[in-house]
Each structure stands twice: as C-alpha cells, then as structure tokens.
C-alpha cells in the first residue's frame, strides 16, 4: 500500500483534527492547547517539506511533476481531486513556516486574548492547505471560505473598536467577493458542465464561441473575486487597515492570504488560458499587469504616507501583491520563477515585520498598550480567568533592543529589496527575468510596459527604503525616553528565525531558484497537470 | 377528462394561493403597524405551505412533503420571535 499517496490529505486533515480536538479541551489548559497547536504546525511543516521533495523528486517526461489524489475513490473529473505540484508544495511549506512562527509568537500572550485562538488558527491552516491543493473550482470556493471564515475570527481576535471597524469592512468586502466567486464558478459550470479544473481545461477548446464568451464572463467575475483577495487596486483599500488591526501573529499569517488570490490566478490563468487561448488570455494578462502596477504605485504612496508601522506593513503587503500580479500578468517562465521566489521572500519578511511591529510598539508605549486593552476587557465572569491581555508581557532582556533594531533593519532591507538578503535576490531575479525572458544572453525586444514595470518595481523599493528609514530613525534613534524593550524569548525567536530564513534563502538562492524555475516551467506546461488528474489520453487543448 | 379537471383546478388553486400571498405581501409592505406585518408574514408561511402541497399534488410526488412539514412544525418559530420582539423588544430574555 502506498502511504505517501495519503500525504496529500495531511495538510487538510491534520489541522482539521487538531482544531476540532482543541475544542474538546478545557479552555484553561493553555499550555496543552498551545503545545498541540504548535506540534500540528511543525508536523505540517514536515509534511510540506516532504511534499516539496515529492513534487520535485520524481520527474516525468515534461520535466514537471504533479500527482493527484481523488477523494472518496471516485474517478477524476467527477470526484474532488487534490493535486500536488511544485507550486502547491511550495505554498504549503511557506504557510506552515509562517504558521509555526506565528503560533510560537502567539504563546506569549495573544493565544489567550480570546477564546479558541488555536482552533481558529488551525482551521485557517486547513483552509489554506485545501485552497493550495484542490483541483476543483467549487472545492476551492469552500476552502476559500474556510480560510476567510477563520480569518474573520482571527482578525477580530482580541476585539476592540479599531479591530471591529476594520473587520466589518474586511468581512463585508469579502462576503461580496465570495458571492462573485459563486457567480463565476456556477457560470462556468453552467456553460462547461464541469468543476474540475483539469477537465475544464480539456473541455474549453471544444466549446462554441457563444458558450466560450459566457464562460469567459464567468472566469472574469471569478477573477475579480481573486483580485479582491490578492488586493489589486482598486479593490484593495480594505487591506491595510485590516492587516494593521489584526493581532501580530494573525497579521503574520494573513500575509499568505493575499498570496492565495495570486496563487489561484497564476494557476488558473496558466491552466485555462494558456497562450493558445487567444484574445481573452491576453486581456487578462494586460489587466493584471496594469492593475499590478497601479497597485504598486498606490501602495507605494501608502507606504510613504503611513505614520503607523502597522499601516506601513499593510501597504508593504500590497506592494508585494502588486508586484506579483504584474509578474503574473507578464507571465513568462523566467518572471514567474522570480516572482515565486519573491513571493516566498516577501511573505517571510512581511510576516517578520508584523511580528516585530508588536514588540517595537510595545517598546514605545508600554503603558498605552495595556490601557487600551483593559478598556476593552469588559465581559462576563469567564473573561477574567483566562484573558490576561492586560498583563505585562515579557521581561527586559539585555540586547533585546539591539536585536529589535537589527531585525527592523533587516526587514527594511528585505522590503526595499536591498542586498544582501533575499529581498534583493527576489527582485533581481524578477528584473532579470523581465529583461531577459529567454535567459541571459538571448536577444529579446523589451516593450515599454516592461520598462515601466522595472521602473515601478525599483522605485517602490526606494520609497519603501525612505519610509522604513524614516520610521526606523524615529523609533530606534530618537526615542523620547529610554527604550525599555519588554519581550520574551518566544516572541523574538520567530522573528529572528524568519529573518534568518531570508538570509538562508539569499545564500542558497541558487537551489531555491532552480526549484521555482521548475515550478514555473511546469505551470507553463499544463499537460502534465491535466494528465496527473485525468490520466493519459487527455491531451491539453483537445476536445474529447 | 378528470385528469384535465384536476390539472386545471390545481393550477387555479395555485393561482389563488399566489394571489393570497400577494394580498399578504401587500400587508407586509404597507403595515400599517408591525403587528400587521408579522401577522401577514405568518400567513404567508401557511400559504406557502399550501402551495407546496399543491405542487406535490401536481407532480404526484411525495418528496415535497418535507418542505411542507418543516413549515408546519417550525414555521411558527420565526413568527413567534417576531411577535415576542414586538411585545417585549427582546426575543430571548
């Protein structure tokens, strides 16, 4: 019996079971809950790495591998399938890395700021795992909803006026977007008669022109839903406040949320609207490119005009989103490969930033923080026994300030894309890919829009540098009073670990980039994906 | 022949029930007072249940019965909630 086959379900099943089991444990047993939750996160990380190796290890003729898992033993286009390829494995690894970091961080205080933190977190991981693995459009909707529902809970975790106000917007917008998702999926089903992505790719060319137009309408509406999640201008205004309002570990894992939208856009656009799809494919690409650039520009202005660090970080998320969207819009292998590297690097660094912000802000106004929390600590009798939010967290650690400031500096470099950390490698890889689509040394005409993108990407880095420097100097160099960093080890360690990972990514940029390159190549050759889902005999583009 | 009569009478019955729903809807919209709205919404539920039964008769299938049963057993829950809200300003005290 081939047990590795079942590895594909683990990223969904493990957090589900953990989350559900945590519900049955008494709320007072924090340590046990945290331990189980982190253990699940670590196991998830191990699984994700195993999946990455699995996806990278066995290579079929096309140089790309994907394997599928048909749920409930039904044959493929009818059953819901999970599909593993390098991209999904990479996303899983990223998610679980951030999850472990955020979970460890949360044990300092956030996991007790409200009930069922760990359960919500696990369910969010489940949703993300499902969204990355599923090969079925409607199932994707379901896992999007799982992710979103958990994100609502996590965003509101800890309550408070600002959080609730931001949460209201976040929820309202995402509910509307979910409705668009449903419209899109059902329209696709209504015209093509299937929900399976691979099957859809096979059926598409056989559709009549009128049906295809309707299906494209569905796809476009679907795309809007993803763009809301990915945070493309002008659908992104909810994002900075929401991310700023979220508790630090929550914001850290939220960083991946925008990436889910990008992931799906990348996956679907290359699977369904591969270059041969004609006009519509080009149109989608154009929208992504220009929208991405507009997002970068808007977010850049946001980064510059942000006074609060949380807001700045929120706009950084948008910059990274815009960059990814534009890269997806360009769509060639080299750029996508760089973009995937960028995705990982920027996620790690923004997550580290969100975690760091909490410590920095606490350093700055130790009293105000406590005050704002106690003001909200209204509730019934059960509140007092488990919610120690008003407790002072952490102790004064010698050298903590140095660690915080060095971390801040690293984050600044990462976000601005300055050397020597992975942020630079990521941008460089993308820019090189933009200018040399077929590899260094090949002759290629560079269009104006690409130059524009190069300029926008570089300028956004500069703006980030200016903004980060402004904040960093204000915080670390010009303190109004003596800085008293009160932190605990479990808070500092995840930040340092994430940043160290960025450094490792920079040093081992070569292997990592060859992985992303292989991932990008297989995305551009959907036949392997289709075959792994439907079996052989389904040539891409061939009607049955 | 009798089949036609049945068909026509069921169709007519459905039309009448829909008309009844229209009347109730008018009251729900126009009120004038909240109690009128609640009363007529409740009546709409009942009428809807009757409509479900006629659809069942028309299709000759018993599978629509559950819907009717749910209205009969649970339909009053929301009406009670509305009525209680009117009386006490609070549904559960």
């Amino acid at each position: 019996m081939d047990w590795t086959r079942h590895l594909l379900i683990v990223p969904i099943l493990l957090p589900l079971i953990t989350g559900a089991a945590l519900l049955l444990i008494d709320e007072l047993r924090h340590t046990l809950k945290a331990f189980l939750s982190i253990a699940s996160g670590v196991l998830l990380l191990v699984t994700a790495i195993a999946l990455m190796r699995l996806a990278d290890g066995v290579v079929d003729g096309g140089g790309a591998l994907s394997s599928s898992y048909a749920l409930a033993n039904w044959p493929a286009p009818f059953a819901i399938v999970l599909v593993l390829d390098r991209l999904s494995a990479l996303m899983l690894a990223l998610v679980s890395t951030l999850a472990v970091a955020a979970l460890v961080f949360s044990t300092a205080r956030w996991d007790r700021a409200g009930p069922h933190f760990h359960t919500l977190f696990q369910f969010m991981l489940m949703g993300l795992g499902g969204a990355f693995l599923t090969g079925d459009l409607f199932n994707l909707f379901v896992f999007f909803e799982v992710t979103l529902a958990a994100s609502y809970g996590l965003l509101l975790h800890g309550s408070g006026a600002f959080r609730v106000r931001a949460g209201l917007h976040y929820i309202a917008i995402n509910l509307a977007a979910s409705l668009l998702f449903l419209i899109g999926v059902s329209l696709i089903y209504g015209t093509a008669g299937t929900l399976n992505m691979a099957d859809l790719a096979v059926r598409l060319p056989g559709l009549s022109a009128e049906d295809r137009a309707l299906l494209h309408t569905g796809a476009a509406i679907l795309g809007i839903a993803f763009l809301v999640k990915a945070g493309m201008w002008p659908l992104c205004f909810w994002l900075p406040s929401a991310y700023m309002a979220a508790a630090a570990p929550v914001a850290a894992i939220f960083v991946v949320l925008t990436k889910v939208g990008t992931y799906v856009l990348l996956r679907l656009s290359l699977l369904l609207f591969a270059p041969e799809a004609g006009a519509t494919a080009g149109f989608g690409g154009t929208v992504l490119l220009w929208g991405g650039m507009a997002t970068i520009l808007f977010a850049t202005s946001g980064v510059l005009s942000s006074q609060a660090l949380g807001r700045l970080a929120g706009f950084s998320v948008l910059i990274s989103s815009g960059t990814l969207l534009a890269a997806v819009g360009i769509g060639n292998t080299a750029v996508v490969s760089g973009a995937l590297f960028y995705l990982v690097s920027s996620s790690l660094s923004v997550a580290a930033f969100f975690l760091l912000i909490e410590l920095v802000e606490r350093t700055r106004e130790p009293a105000a923080d406590v005050l704002s929390v106690t003001m909200e600590a209204y509730g019934d009798e059960t509140d007092e026994r488990e919610e120690h939010e008003d407790q002072e967290v952490g102790v004064t650690v010698p050298g903590a300030l140095a660690i915080l400031s060095v971390s801040f500096g690293c984050v600044a470099l990462l976000l601005a894309g300055l050397p020597p950390l992975s942020g630079f490698i990521a941008k460089f890889a993308m820019l090189t890919g933009l200018l040399n689509p077929d590899g260094l040394g090949s002759v290629a005409e560079i269009s104006g829009r690409i130059w524009l993108l190069v300029a926008v990407v570089i300028l956004s880095g500069l703006a980030t540098l200016v903004a980060m420097m402004r904040s960093g100097v204000r915080i670390f160099w010009a303190p109004l009073e003596e800085l008293v960093p009160r932190v605990v080890m479990v808070e500092v360690a995840p930040i340092v670990a994430l940043l160290a990972l960025c450094a490792v990514l920079a040093v081992w940029g070569g292997p990592m980039l060859s992985y992303t390159e292989a991932a990008a190549r297989s995305l551009h050759a959907p036949s392997s994906y289709i075959q792994s889902v439907l079996g052989t005999g389904h040539p891409p583009g061939g009607a049955r | 022949m009798t089949a036609a009569i049945l068909l026509w009478s069921v169709t007519a019955a459905q039309a009448m029930l829909v008309a009844a729903m229209g009347c109730y809807a008018y009251r729900v919209i126009r009120g004038p007072r909240a109690q009128d709205r609640v009363l007529c919404l409740d009546a709409m539920y009942v009428t809807a249940m009757l409509l479900v039964l006629t659809i069942g008769i028309r299709s000759g299938s018993a599978i629509y019965f559950e819907a009717a049963l749910i209205i009969a057993v649970l339909g009053f829950v929301s009406s009670i909630a509305l009525a209680k809200f009117l009386m006490r300003g609070e549904v559960i005290e």
């Binding site: 409607f138 379901v142 909803e145 529902a149 609502y152 509101l156 309550s159 408070g160 006026a161 609730v164 106000r165 949460g167 209201l168 917007h169 929820i171 309202a172 509910l175 509307a176 979910s178 409705l179 449903l182 419209i183 999926v185 059902s186 329209l187 089903y189 209504g190 929900l195 | 028309r58 299709s59 000759g60 299938s61 599978i63 629509y64």
Partner: protein
C-alpha cells in the same frame, strides 16, 4: 418561466446591490442577504429549470439522468446556503459589536462630516 426567474434574479441583485451601497450596517446585512438569494437562484438556474423532476431516484435506483434535474447545482446551492447563513450571522454580530464599540451604525463606524 426562465424569463421570470432571470428577471427575479436581476431584481434581487439590483435591490441587494442598492442596499450594499447604503451607509447603514443593517442595510448591509439585508442587502447581502438579498444578494445571497439572488446568487443561490443564479447557481440553481445554471442547471436549467425543470418542473417535477427532482433528482431523487425511484425505488431500486431507477432514474434517467436526462429526465431529472441537474443535482450538481443543487448541491452547490446547499453549500452556498450554509455558508451564507454562517456569514450572515457573523456579519450581524460584527455589526452589533461595532455598534457597541463605535456607538454608531454607519458602516465606517463614524458619521461622515
């Protein structure tokens, strides 16, 4: 019948969109609920309309797929109903809490000046 339903979907969508663009949180809740109806009907309509052809098989599993309504959109609508119910509840509670914290029922938590 198709036309009736299509118009109904349009009217529900229009009413919902109108409400979703309004400033009060309660309008938002009602608007999203209306939109949810519209979308559920839309999904449902993607399976085409059939009268008296519920996808329930006869005894022994008898049933001609062509003679029965498409069960897939129905299953999708069921999931959508559940999720819609959950999110309506959530939105409602969030607006209550927001109302409590901001003392205001504007969607932005403060009256525009």
């Amino acid at each position: 019948m198709e036309l009736t339903l299509a118009i109904a979907i349009g009217v529900l969508t229009g009413s919902g969109v109108w409400l979703v663009l309004r400033p009060r949180t309660y309008q938002l809740v009602i608007g999203l609920s209306l939109l949810a109806y519209a979308v559920n009907l839309f999904i449902f309509s993607m399976g085409r309309l059939r009268v008296g052809a519920a996808p329930v098989l006869g005894p022994g599993g008898a049933g001609d797929p062509a003679a029965l309504a498409d069960p897939v959109p129905q299953a999708l609508v069921l999931t959508a109903i559940v999720i819609g119910f959950a999110t309506t509840a959530l939105l409602l509670v969030v607006l209550l809490v927001a109302r409590g914290l901001t003392r205001n029922d504007h969607v932005d938590g403060r009256e525009p000046n």
